[in-house]
Symmetry: C2
Amino acid sequence: MDTDVPKPVLKGGKPVRGSTTGQPIMVLFDLLSRRWAMGVLWNLADGPRTFRDLQAQCGSASPSVLNTRLKELRDVGLIENGKGGYALTATGRDLFERLEPLGDWAMEWVPTL
Amino acid sequence: MDTDVPKPVLKGGKPVRGSTTGQPIMVLFDLLSRRWAMGVLWNLADGPRTFRDLQAQCGSASPSVLNTRLKELRDVGLIENGKGGYALTATGRDLFERLEPLGDWAMEWVPTL
DNA sequence: ATAGGGCGCTACGAAAAAAGTAGCAAGGAA
DNA sequence: TTCCTTGCTACTTTTTTCGTAGCGCCCTAT
């Protein structure tokens, strides 16, 4: 292993954090494990939202982080900014669908903590 | 909204970062979006691994972060440390199964970047 | 026209998290 | 004993996130 997979780079030239293996799942994990990334996708699932809406729903995330995250998610084509606010792209919806099962799981799991 | 849901707290008294709404999914996202959290679960999926194995597989994550993460994941019962190294618990495997679809998705998605 | 109000977003210092590197105590094999 | 490997702590530097302030834009009511 450790073949010479081209090192994944987010549009804009930012190399993916950590895991230099280039495994797709690690590239995804790297993106999703940035603060509020998954939260944004989740909150956009049931319709477009404005910047300030998102901010409120994301536990008052600071505008700087939120904006950074929104840029990143736009760069990789998961969300887009049209009228009506930010919304999931087709790709974004596709990813969300694979994220959704976590919601049910979390509802069973959290009470056990 | 903003009912008085008891604020989720990880064993050990550490309150969940951000999102004070107490939505289970946000509690989960909070945990999973910490560095290497998902990567650890992923790497433990096909069998137990030693601390140093995990370290190597996680792009040489620093031992301090890795150790912190392992403690957190143990605290919430997703992994355990037996002989043979760290391994997923039943709960952990259950969560992994919901995470697994992301792998296939990532393989299709990454090349489009 | 103009004074608000909501909007997307930038700036910047402070705090928290992660990275990077070194090294130690314990256990096991030689 | 000596030599490894393993799990982990300590410490410094770097990166990320937070928290707060506020700007320019557009729209609406006065």
